[in-house]
Symmetry: C2
């Protein structure tokens, strides 16, 4: 799967990094419960986008895309949930 | 380019949404200058990942990937810069 001779490794490293990036954000949000600096619109837009990437993964039958996007979707939905909860508490 | 009959539209909608998602976050960060709830590790990881997606776009000669990832990289670098600036001010 990993092919360092074709340049495809760029996409594997990229996919891994942009997927795991949401782990520290989700952990920080769960621990601190602080979402003030986080944009609600960003996470609504992002979660919807990742959902469509997941649909595309299912459509083309790519397990890598399905797994990576399911993982990102769960993490970004956790962050979005905290944000919505905090916004409703404020209102 | 847009082909609603093959299911490729999933990827176009997904790419547009996950790219523009960073606009409201960058705008909010620039206006409020608040980055407390934002994870430094997330943006370091994410910017690096997007940079590799950009490299992959260059590698496969995809203008769509180059444009979308350059755009996302600029926005996420803006957010990362504010975060680093605020962290250094605190220290």
């Amino acid at each position: 799967m990993f092919d360092f001779f074709t340049g495809d490794h760029f996409s594997y490293i990229a996919a891994i990094l942009t997927t795991i990036a949401f782990i520290p954000q989700a952990v920080q949000t769960i621990i601190t419960r602080d979402t003030d600096a986080i944009s609600l619109e960003m996470y609504i837009c992002f979660c919807t986008g990742v959902f469509f990437w997941l649909c595309y993964g299912v459509h083309i039958g790519s397990w890598a895309m399905m797994i990576a996007n399911s993982f990102t979707l769960v993490l970004s939905l956790i962050i979005l949930s905290y944000k919505i909860f905090n916004e409703r508490k404020k209102a």
